[in-house]
Amino acid sequence: MSGAISSVFRLPSVAKEPALTGCDYTFERALVMTVRVGIIGLGRMGITHFSIINSRPDVQIVATADPSMLVNKLLGKYAGVKTYKDYSQMLAKEDLDAVLLCTPPAMNYEILKAVAERGLHAFVEKPFTLSAEHGRELSAIFASKGLVNQVGYVNRFNDVFARTQAMVADGLIGRVIRFRSEMYSATITRAQEDDGWRATHANGGGATYEMASHAIDLITFLFGKPDHISGTSLSRLFSQHVEDIVASNFRYAGGLGGSIYVNWSDASFRKPTNKLEIFGESGKILADQHGMKLYLASARPDLGFAKGWNQLYITGLFSSVPFYLRGIEFTAQLYDFVDCIADRGRTTRCDFSAATDTLAVIDTMFADNAHNESELAR
């Protein structure tokens, strides 16, 4: 369908500084080629991604696949795309360049293998798949075929967290000693009768896969995969078969250590909130999606930072995107995906390999928790 932002707009230019921001999109390659996209899974994320990627002039959404007749009827009627109940039919019949995959994660291993077989680039919602083993296999397949592969760990495109990563990498707070990655929401605040596909780990349900994966990804984004995981505790509050609260401790060979704490049953939070605390030998960073407090042992006049506390608000950190929906992050992320297809020398900010690190952490956390529970039961 046609739905592109018209060329009458003066579009944002390339980011001026090399540091990461949420969005460094540039239209310089746009209109050179059209990327033909199919979307598999039209739940909340699929619908959001449809709207966002459809705003790009060089993207054409050709078809969608979803088992819901209602969704298919609405998309066919209003969005003018070809709709399929079965993704394999869509892959077989449509001439595509790329797919966006927004299906429950237990389905993704099979779907992604079929996508790779068709030689299509893939963007997949987190947590991508459900084991590091599958993650490594898929990562290797896509890499060997030279296909762009990206996972929707959207925090990497948040302006505050992107800046935090750049500050840490630049050594602004010196060698990092401790971190804390926390995430809260009021997602599940009542007893769950029927959790649908979210009911079990086998389906990708539970606070670890669905929410803590974001907090873990922030850690791997900043510091890489931890070398040792211990003290994992998965607690149930409202869900019947999966955890609502997640806590664990990470250690690195170089001496770095930290913890994560994620709770999706905390009704005191109106909006999902990520909090990050990083303590280094010459400073400290307290960050959430909306701002950052930076403490420095000595001033950095070259960067405009005073000795002691510095407050950075999102209003001073934000980057603009050509089209805004539910924050800048989703747009920055999908535009990055399309840019990587157009420019094969460019790498995505979160490829399958990076997301596999998070899956490996989750595998270990589940094993650690099972071990801890059996120890306590003795």
Partner: protein
């Protein structure tokens, strides 16, 4: 004479919404936990001469509307600018129950006697599902709490407007605007974070006489694609066909009020919606906004 109030009093300060600081938002939500403290602020706004009120149809709006209706003689000349829907209601439902579960919950919320129940009895089979009819019913349900108030504009929240805009489909917006005009005798309003793009599409689709509410501030916060494109669009805009209401004028506090409104005053902007809690800030804002647009 503009069709809408030059100054409209918003509600974010009451409900724990602050784009810049979650801690501040939390503190505000606690402060306004009871209705009396909310009305103390409304009284300050009224004393400052403000007669336009924007209120999102959130879970506390019903009580606020009821009190205004009960005390109609105290606020005889208020004009209302409700915004619908309350996105969190649907977002949490979807998180908890999935899309289909959420739809079921919304459709059958009050059992078979609700409007949705009636429609469901008429057959909710996918092939006969009438999305536009359902959209109108959802609008009616959300607007119901404002019945009895002088509603001037019914705004659609940006999360909905911009989602439809991205899909590039005219019909839902055309039907929404028609419905608000016909059923409520009010102006339709669209809140957006993509004002230049929306305006361009509305002109393409032949939709006019719609109030456009968008973040407008000199630093470009929550303005896609950027400030310069907004300035061009506003400059070219016909404020009668597309009256513009500026929100986030202070960019969540990043811009001092005098500087923020000096910028707004020189733009072709018909109206400003702002939120504040203290009498001093409310009066200062009213004083800083020029009586007529540039």
């Amino acid at each position: 004479m503009s069709k809408i109030d030059r100054i409209v009093f918003g509600d974010n300060q009451f409900f724990g919404i602050n784009h810049m600081s979650q801690d501040k938002a939390q503190a505000q939500a606690e402060r306004f936990a009871d209705l009396d403290s909310i009305f103390a602020v409304y009284d300050h706004a009224y004393s400052a001469g403000i007669r336009g009120i924007m209120l999102n149809s959130n879970d506390r709006a019903t009580a606020i509307c009821e009190r205004f209706k009960a005390q109609a003689s105290r606020y005889p000349d208020l004009r209302w600018y409700p915004s619908i829907p309350y996105p969190h209601k649907y977002a949490s439902l979807v998180s908890e129950k999935g899309m289909v579960g959420a739809l079921n919950d919304v459709l059958f919320a009050d059992g078979a006697k609700s409007a949705f129940g009636k429609m469901a009895r008429g057959g909710l089979a996918a092939m006969t599902f009438d999305a536009i009819r359902m959209m109108k019913m959802l609008v009616d349900e959300e607007v119901a709490i404002y019945r009895g108030l002088d509603v001037r504009v019914v705004f659609l929240q940006n999360i909905v407007t911009d989602l439809i805009l991205g899909f590039d489909i005219a019909e839902p917006l055309i039907e929404y605007c028609e419905h608000v005009r016909k059923k409520y005798g009010a102006l339709p309003g669209l809140i957006t974070q993509n004002l230049p793009y929306l305006r361009q599409k509305l002109m393409e689709w032949g939709i006019s006489d719609v109030v456009l509410c968008a973040s407008i501030n000199k630093i470009g916060y929550l303005m896609s694609p950027d400030v310069a494109t907004y300035e061009v669009a506003l400059d070219q805009n016909d404020g009668d066909r597309y009256p513009v209401m500026a929100m986030s004028t202070l960019a969540s506090g990043a811009i001092p009020a005098p500087e923020a409104y000096e910028y707004i005053n020189q733009l072709n902007v018909q109206s400003v919606v702002f939120g504040a809690s203290s009498p001093g800030n409310i009066q200062q804002t009213v004083d800083l906004i020029d009586a007529v647009p540039a």
